[in-house]
């Protein structure tokens, strides 16, 4: 479980996050949605400490992340996995080396054990015979799957996904969404997915938080999204003509 309390963040006196309090549930796929520039990415990056917050608390299973030393934060981060928007795979390493990297750095596993773990993670994301390829030799969807494999290689307690579907076709996007959701349930991970893709919301959104101009505007489940009376959420959800037509028929 990740709990954030009264989180505030400014960039050069411009408030980007305003008094946000949310509890992200363990073993569930928690979605943070909102328009581009609403503060979703800043929120996720603040939670994991890539942005320094101005005020508020961030608790990982009651462990106060904000007051931790740099060393303690580094240790806690070993319990986290992150899927970045662009994958963020290391260009100069092969797929296998990318996934193996955290194991090389932080474990005393034998070469055989590391190989076995890498193969398990690759199988889990439905990738085969790609061990010796470089990221540039993979498609966008495959890169995302390798990034997921790398994120779960150390059995994380917390998984963060920043726009996991950006740049993917709708079918591959659903594959990635379902993979994230399955992994979350299988390993009982607290997963936070940052997205503006409504398909993702309806597919895997067990808990949905809507951010509007840096403020938490709405919170609920995917079943509540379509019937919400929050104006900003409705504008967001029913922005496309297709969605408007569906609403008219509802």
């Amino acid at each position: 479980m990740i709990k954030i309390e009264h989180l505030n963040k400014k960039f050069y006196d411009v408030p980007v996050l305003k008094d946000i309090s949310i509890t992200f549930q363990e073993g569930k796929t928690n979605l943070v949605i909102g328009k581009s520039g609403s503060g979703k990415t800043v929120l996720v990056k603040s939670i994991i400490g890539l942005h320094k917050i101005d005020s508020g608390n961030i608790l990982f299973h009651d462990r106060d992340f904000v007051s931790m030393s740099v060393r303690q934060k580094q240790e806690l981060r070993r319990e986290m996995g992150m899927l970045f928007q662009g994958g963020a795979l290391f260009d100069s390493l092969t797929v296998e080396e990318n996934i193996k990297f955290p194991l090389e750095m932080f474990t005393k596993m034998s070469t055989k054990e590391k190989r076995k773990r890498v193969d398990f993670c690759l199988q889990r994301v439905n990738l085969h015979d790609v061990n010796n390829l470089y990221p540039a030799e993979l498609s966008g969807g495959m890169q995302k799957r390798v990034a997921i494999a790398r994120a779960i290689v150390q059995n994380p307690k917390y998984l963060f996904c920043d726009e996991p579907n950006s740049g993917l076709d709708p079918i591959t996007a659903i594959v990635i969404d379902n993979l994230i959701s399955d992994i979350t349930h299988e390993f009982n991970i607290t997963t936070i997915v940052n997205t503006h893709d409504m398909n993702s919301v309806m597919e895997i959104g067990e808990k949905v938080v809507f951010i509007h101009e840096g403020e938490k505007s709405w919170e609920g489940t995917k079943d509540d999204v379509l019937s919400s009376d929050d104006k900003y959420l409705n504008d967001f959800v029913f922005a496309s003509n297709l969605a408007k037509r569906i609403k008219e028929k509802m």
């Binding site: 890539l50 260009d91 955290p102 750095m105 932080f106």
Partner: protein, 246 residues
Amino acid sequence: MKIIEQIGKYFVLMNRVFSKPEKNRIYYKQVLIEIESLGINSIGIVIIISIFMGAVITLQTRYNLENPLIPLYLIGLTARDSMLLEFSSTIVGLILAGKVGSNIASEIGHMRITEQIDALEIMGVNSACYLILPKIIATVIFNPILTLISMFVGVFGGWAASVITGALTSTDYIYGIQYWFVPFYITYSLVKTVVFAIIITSVPAFFGYYVKGGALEVGHSSTKGVVTSSVLILLFNVILTQLMLA
């Protein structure tokens, strides 16, 4: 004010760079990779530049020495001391600042804008230490070797130019390079090389590490890294010369 802020930021980064590595074996492996990438791959350019520098110093000195009272072996001495004192350390340092510096700034800058540095941080890796420390260690170890190669090849280049053009005899040149040899000049040059190696790697790494934006900004950071490290090399050249030779 911005310069002071940048200097402060540089030292904060260096504090992170010179902290305890997570796993020594991984860092040792990285140092070997960087020695190949930044050091061994620079041998070719150092040899080419040094041969021509040695040759040009010899020829220019010869054509400027018209006085028959000045012995010709002094041309060999001039070529040797020029290479030892200045060219093999400072000029080679400036050239490496261009080659190695731009490489480092663009590599780290690219990693920053593609979130690879963030990925390292999320894994719990000290990204500054992991990315920059092996480069500094590699150049501090290998650049003195490049300087020694440059000295040898530069003096050889001077000999080759004098023999090929007939500017002076081989005997005069060889006598000149042996005449009044001061071994401390090599120490002085190697000390400068070590300081320059730290500048060549850490300054472009700093500009790459803090880059924001896209490919254009990575290019700018690379330029800034090379220009700043070149200016710092010249500044520290004066400071070290005053400290060690005055």
